[in-house]
Amino acid sequence: MLLLRLLQKLVKTLNSDGTPGQVALGIAMGSALGLTPLVNLHNLLILGAVFLLNVSFPAAMLGWIAFAPIGFLFDPWFDAIGNALLADATGLVPLWTMLYNVPVIPLSNYNNTVVLGSLVGWVVLFAPIFFVARLGVAWYRTHVLPRLLNTRIFRFIRASKLYNFYQLFQTD
């Protein structure tokens, strides 16, 4: 039921809820949950930010789901990036040493090559994901949605009992 409601919210978000910017920001923030190993302190902060900031929550969930496989796929590169930053960049050792001995920061697992590499990867990809998602949502709403609404299948769905069932879960 929760999944169905999330799906419903997602469709609604893409179609009408929120500005394309809010949806895109949600996707970009949610992508952190997919790109980086999930059980880490920075993801708790990002989840808190998704809750508190006026961004689309379903879009963040979409970002998480969409980017989780990409995270697995990119792990070798993330590992290499983390390795380069933590082990090879001797100039950064004083910074890492300082952070390693500051309370709470070590709990973030920043000193793990995959965690740091994927976090840096997400930061770098954040702006491209945001802009591409914003353009995509705007383009979808102006070009795809009107055509979709006029398709026979969509009209059939809207007239069917399935759509009535869907409407039952509408919150507003």
Partner: protein, 593 residues
């Protein structure tokens, strides 16, 4: 449009509370699992923990039912603990570091059986590599043979075959090297052959004999130029021959060095022939290693292994260090640690006291107390060396004592470790003496080990001393020599075996001494000196017969090659010098005109 969604604060708060509660509920099993995973990785065999009870409010962790598998015997526990109570300092936990103020252990038992195997698929490859290195070292340690069979019968010198001796082969090698060198040098001399130039120079000198400016007329300048060119050619040729003579001297010197090494090879052949015919050395320093090196290696190998493993578990210095990341669905990666003098170490145990009791009627039964101070996974961070002491507080039977003091100083990169162990009244090793066959049981006595590691060098001594030695003839043969040995050994009640180890930690030198060897030596010398000397004389004579001629041949061949080449070169040089002097005299005569 508002940036913040204020109404989300309460759901977020609820979510955080829910997560906190979940974390708190799962903390015990997470700690239990963490100890099992880290322990298994460290030991190289399964570590099981029945229960972990984390009491953050009290700053305490209680572990119950800890089983640590013996990696060398997976159906046995190295040790098991009924209960461990640790008082935690909570502040370092915020830095993901564990600082235990005090730790108390109850119900420690060793060697208990396991219900299931504790072996893991790929146990500790680094530890395995270290074991292989130490095994390799022990295989390289020479273990001399000790056998008295050669004294029981006739000495069969025919068994000494020239093809089994190294001296004749070396001598032949020198001869063929000398022949090759001579051929090469002669070829070079032939290439430099000065005869044509000498002949033309002589002809020129004769032609200009008594010539003057007036008699030569217009040919004067040409004659002077021709003289100078020829003198220059002679000088160049002389330099070439000088260089060759120098090369020959160097080559001959190398050959002579090889010749002078032949007596060493002869000595080695003599020792090998003595071994072949089983004529024993009667010197105690030769007998001790033959009798006790195997035992010494068996006991010293684990000591060397743990001396090196201590460095791995407790590494010195403050360099960033890498460990495998946590196991998860995503790639584990590596955790890079950045220790600093101003922080906490990953794991610190400020003080640990372990009271343990070994049950039973054996010599080791009784109560023990173990103190550990300043244990730290990064001693350079903690700044103090690890101190461990073990003492026996109550013996099961008899006046036995155990005393161990160990200091692991890994605070700086120059490691300084020391171990002093003294155990009295415990059973000592029993060993069948190689080459003799008698079984020696040292019984209860003093077992004393002192070992110091400074940097990469190690120095130590292990002493077993007993005055309750018992002997058994076991597989010892009969006959005059064996009976003599048996009388000597069975009269021995006080025995000391002393093993010394010194040098580089990766390949130290081992020395073994024992009064058993001294007694055997004394007894054999007293009774068998004449037989041994006679047998030795025969062996020496036979070896000498087989190697003397090849040595003489090699020596004379080198001398002959030197004489041949140097003689020809000297002849060439003499002729060149003579003709050049003549030409220079002609030049001077012409110059006066």
């Amino acid at each position: 449009m508002h940036v913040f969604r204020w109404k989300a604060i309460i759901p977020l708060g609820l979510l955080l509370v829910l997560m906190g509660a979940g974390w708190y509920l799962l903390l015990d099993s997470a700690v239990r699992r963490g100890i099992e995973v880290v322990g298994t990785a460290l030991v190289g065999a399964k570590v099981d923990l029945e229960e972990a009870d984390v009491r953050l409010a009290e700053g305490a962790v209680i572990l119950r039912g800890l089983l640590v598998t013996n990696p060398d015997a997976p159906m046995t526990n190295l040790f098991q603990l009924d209960e461990v109570v640790a008082d935690l300092n909570l502040r370092p936990l915020l830095q993901k570091k564990i600082f235990i103020d005090t730790i108390a252990v109850r119900g420690l038992r060793f060697g208990t059986p396991r219900a299931t195997s504790g072996a893991i698929p790929n146990p500790d490859p680094e530890g395995g590599a270290l074991r292989r290195q130490i095994d390799e070292w022990s295989r390289r340690v020479p273990v001399p043979d000790f056998s008295l069979d050669g004294l029981s019968g006739t000495v069969n010198v025919a068994a000494i075959r020239p093809e089994n001796l190294q001296t004749p082969a070396l001598a032949r090698g020198i001869q063929s090297a000398a022949d090759s060198a001579r051929d090469a040098w002669m070829a070079q001399l032939q290439a430099l052959n000065p005869t044509p130039l000498i002949d033309s120079a002589r002809a020129l000198a004769e032609r200009l004999q008594g010539a003057s400016l007036r008699s030569l007329g217009l040919g004067f300048v040409r004659s002077v130029r021709s003289l100078r060119t020829t003198v220059s050619g002679l000088t160049t040729l002389r330099s070439g021959i000088d260089q060759l003579v120098q090369d020959v001297s160097g080559g001959v010197e190398t050959l002579q060095r090889r010749v002078s090494d032949l007596p060493n090879a002869r000595a080695a052949d003599l020792a090998s022939a003595r071994n072949l015919l089983q004529i024993p050395s009667l010197d105690a320093p030769d007998i001790s290693p033959a009798l006790f090196t195997d035992l010494a290696l068996e006991r010293i190998q684990p000591v060397l292994y743990w001396a090196r493993m201590a460095e791995r578990y407790v590494p010195p210095g403050l360099d960033p260090r890498r460990r495998p990341g946590p196991s998860r669905a995503r790639r584990a990666g590596s955790d890079v640690e950045f220790p600093t003098e101003r922080g906490y170490a990953g794991l610190t145990i400020a003080f640990a006291e372990i009271d343990l009791r070994l049950e039973g009627e054996g010599a080791s039964a009784g109560a023990y107390r173990v103190h550990i101070e300043d244990f730290s996974s990064e001693p350079s961070v903690h700044g103090r060396p690890i101190r461990i002491s073990v003492s026996r507080t109550e013996a099961g039977s008899g006046p036995d004592a155990v005393h161990l003091e160990a200091v692991l100083d890994h605070v700086t990169s120059a490691i300084r470790d020391s171990v002093n162990l003294r155990i009295t009244g415990f059973p000592l090793p029993a060993v069948t003496l190689p080459g003799i066959g008698a079984h020696m049981d040292l019984g209860a006595g003093v077992n004393q080990l002192s070992l110091v590691r400074i940097g990469d060098t190690v120095a130590g001594q292990w002493l077993w001393s007993s005055s309750q030695v018992s002997w058994d003839r076991a597989s010892m043969g009969s006959g005059r020599v064996n009976d003599l040995l048996w009388r000597t050994l069975s009269a021995l009640r006080d025995v000391q075996v002393e093993v010394g180890v010194s040098g580089d930690l990766t390949g130290p030198t081992l020395s073994v001494r024992s009064n058993v060897a001294s007694e055997i030596s004394r007894s054999l010398r007293r009774e068998l000196a004449t037989e041994v000397a006679a047998a030795e004389r025969r062996v020496r004579a036979e070896v000498e017969r087989l190697v003397a001629q090849p040595i003489a041949d090699a020596r004379s061949r080198v001398a002959e090659v030197e004489a041949t080449v140097q003689g020809l070169a000297a002849d060439y040089r003499r002729q060149l010098d003579q003709v050049r002097a003549d030409l220079e005299a002609r030049l001077r005569d012409l110059g006066r005109d």
